[in-house]
């Protein structure tokens, strides 16, 4: 079975004037179907560049990147856009929803740009289904400014899911959220992962990384460690514990 992602000696070098910055150096790794990976590292470690490259927003300057067996290093702008549209769902730290646009219309956005020529009703149905998955079907008509941070991130996840991608990329998805909401979002990711969706997440929070299955740590552009997660946290359980802790505070 082809892995979802295969990187061979991946390089990304920025040149600004005479200075060359090797943001990603010689990274080789394979991520298979159904994995849930956290890419971790301090700022400047190259994890953002890595994320942009994996997300086909950027092209590597060296090495090869196979996504679902397709070598994306050689695709042009429009072809990359199509790959992003069909194979990748993005979740950002700042949610990046279109303001003054209802939740369901935000979720429909990727479908507008897919070549599939769906009717308005089909799009609406698929968008509603995606919102249902993240538990927000009832708020489909709300605008982002009428939703909490956690809800906005759920809308963003629904948007990422709407074109049924093979890969979900999340860039610090819990960075703007409080602990409880973060765990809830991780719960959504875990649920999706159980359904077979491959998820790659960039984070610098160690406890959040514990909800994933595999952790890759980057430093100075290199992947210095790649380990499977032991004692993986389960979001539902953690939420219950958190709830109990709250109760305890109340009773005391």
């Amino acid at each position: 079975m082809t892995p979802v992602i295969e990187l061979r000696n991946l390089e990304r070098t920025y040149s600004s004037g005479e200075v060359q910055v090797r943001a990603v150096r010689d990274v080789s790794l394979t991520i298979g179907q159904g994995e849930f990976v956290a890419i971790m590292g301090a700022s400047g470690s190259g994890k953002s560049t890595m994320m942009n490259t994996l997300g086909c927003l950027d092209r590597p300057t060296g090495g090869t990147y196979l996504l679902d067996g397709i070598d994306v290093s050689k695709l042009n702008r429009d072809e990359l856009a199509d790959i992003r549209n069909r194979k990748i769902g993005f979740v950002f730290q700042g949610f990046n929803l279109l303001s003054r646009t209802s939740a369901i219309e935000n979720v429909e956005l990727p479908m507008l740009y897919s070549g599939k020529r769906l009717s308005a009703r089909q799009m609406r149905e698929k968008a509603l289904a995606a919102l249902e998955i993240v538990g927000l079907a009832k708020r489909s008509g709300h605008h982002p400014n009428q939703l909490s941070g956690g809800q906005q991130q759920r809308v963003a996840i629904a948007r990422a899911l709407s074109n049924e991608p093979s890969l979900l990329l999340a860039d610090e998805p819990t960075g703007n959220l409080d602990t409880q909401t973060s765990i809830e979002i991780m719960g959504v990711f875990q649920k999706l992962n159980e359904q077979g969706i491959t998820i790659i997440m960039v984070t610098h929070e160690l406890d959040i990384a514990h909800y994933t299955k595999r952790n890759i740590i980057m430093r100075d552009g290199e992947a210095i460690s790649d380990t499977l997660v032991e004692n993986r946290l389960v979001a539902a359980e953690q939420l219950r514990l958190l709830e109990e802790a709250h109760q305890a505070v109340h009773l005391a």
Binding site: A81, R84, L98, L112, R117, N163
Partner: protein, 405 residues
């Protein structure tokens, strides 16, 4: 991406910033409105002139007698006494393309009926005159060739004369005294209103030219000969043939000038077209200046909009929008802006020309072509001036755009 969806998206974006949208459209609105109103006024004036010219008759060729100079005083056209009724007969006989001919004399007289009297123009004509000038009768008919041959005392009156002398009475068969000479009224002409120069065209009495010459004026020469050519392209031929014929009849030597002048309808038409062409150039230049200014306004706002919405563009690109989807989105936005401005401008322009025609009593005519052209032009302004901002949006780098604060 579907065009309809892009269009809805553009309209929604415009609705979000109503004030800005309206202000941006204002340039186009004023430009298009001004064009529509001015073209309507111009057309009104032109059509009025055209009506006047049509009233003079179609394919008309006029032969004037030459000017006379006596003791250094030049008397102007028609007074040289060189044009005779036999010239008209010769033209009738020898030029087949001159299908209608009416010799003409003119004077002014006091006329009277019962206790009423009035000072008016008396013109002597042939029966063809009314055909040449497309002039119909409200009552009675024209006098006949027989009346001309016998210099009968019959006349036809204009609508003003009927109003001034007869009021409610039926003038047909009544005796009108012209310079004391009694003439029987056989017809009343349809009203023509004022001429371009503001003269009352209905203030006249028409007699057989022979009667006018013999019984009123006591002259033997004509002032003018009215001729109708068989078709517009025969006008030149007829003119040349008349020149040859009259030179020969008047025995004019090779190296002498004509003792008559020939004018035709087309010269009047030409003058009118020249006027309307100048008007058109004026309107077009005003239109292009105001549409240019409006277009720059649109470009300015679109550039602001692209900068403001950099993040939105980044999001759209991240989820799979191609550069051309973004290009199309902004282009459609700019074009909707300008064509909506165009439509509002057209409506306002129509309203303005209605108001002008009602208050200033100017005739206005809204030309469908100008409406269509201004609409298309305003849409083109949107495409032209929207292209640069749209191109700029489409060329954004998705990573940079997503990071934009």
């Amino acid at each position: 991406m579907k065009l309809a969806a892009t269009f809805l998206m553009a309209l929604r974006a415009l609705r979000r910033n109503k004030m800005r949208t309206v202000l941006t459209m204002l340039g186009i609105i004023i430009g298009v409105g001004a064009v529509i109103a001015m073209v309507a006024i111009g057309n009104g004036a032109t059509s009025q002139v055209e009506d006047q010219i049509a009233a003079l008759g179609q394919n008309v060729v006029l032969v004037f007698a030459g000017s006379v100079t006596s003791g250094g005083v030049r008397a102007g056209w028609g007074n040289a006494g060189t044009l005779k009724p036999r010239d008209a007969d010769a033209i009738k006989r020898e030029i087949p393309d001159a299908i209608a001919i009416s010799p003409e004399v003119r004077t002014s007289c006091q006329i009277s009926y019962a206790s009423q009297n009035w000072f008016t123009s008396i013109i002597g004509e042939g029966p063809d005159y009314f055909t040449i000038r497309n002039w119909n009768f409200t009552e009675g008919t024209s006098f006949t060739d027989q009346d001309v041959r016998s210099s009968n005392k019959v006349c036809i009156i204009g609508a003003t004369i009927q109003f001034q002398l007869f009021e409610d009475e039926d003038p047909l068969g009544k005796i009108l005294r012209i310079n004391g000479v009694p003439f029987t009224i056989v017809g009343v002409l349809e009203s023509r209103g004022l001429s371009v120069q503001g003269q009352d065209q209905d203030d006249l009495v028409v007699l057989p030219y022979t009667s006018a010459m013999k019984r009123i004026m006591g002259v033997t020469n004509l002032r003018t000969i009215n001729i109708e050519a068989s078709s517009p392209d025969k006008i030149e031929v007829v003119q040349d043939q008349i020149t040859d014929l009259l030179r020969q009849k008047h025995r004019i030597q090779e190296d002498h000038d004509d003792d008559f002048t020939i004018r035709n309808q087309q010269e009047f038409t030409k003058a009118a077209t020249a006027t309307s062409r100048i008007l058109t150039i004026l309107v077009v230049s005003i239109a292009s200046v105001s549409l240019l200014v409006g277009g720059i306004g649109i470009m300015n706002i679109m550039l602001v909009s692209v900068t403001e919405r950099t993040r939105e563009i980044g999001i759209r690109m991240a989820v799979g929008a191609h550069g051309r989807d973004i290009l199309l989105q902004f282009l459609i936005e700019a074009t909707s802006l300008s064509s909506m401005g165009g439509v509002i401008g057209i409506v306002l322009g129509m309203g303005a020309s209605k108001i002008i025609s009602l208050t200033a009593q100017w005739p206005t005519r809204i030309s469908p072509l100008s409406v269509l052209l201004s609409f298309m032009f305003s849409a083109c302004v949107g495409i032209f001036f929207g292209f640069y901002p749209a191109k700029k949006a489409a060329a954004l780098d998705p990573i940079e755009a997503l990071r934009y604060e």
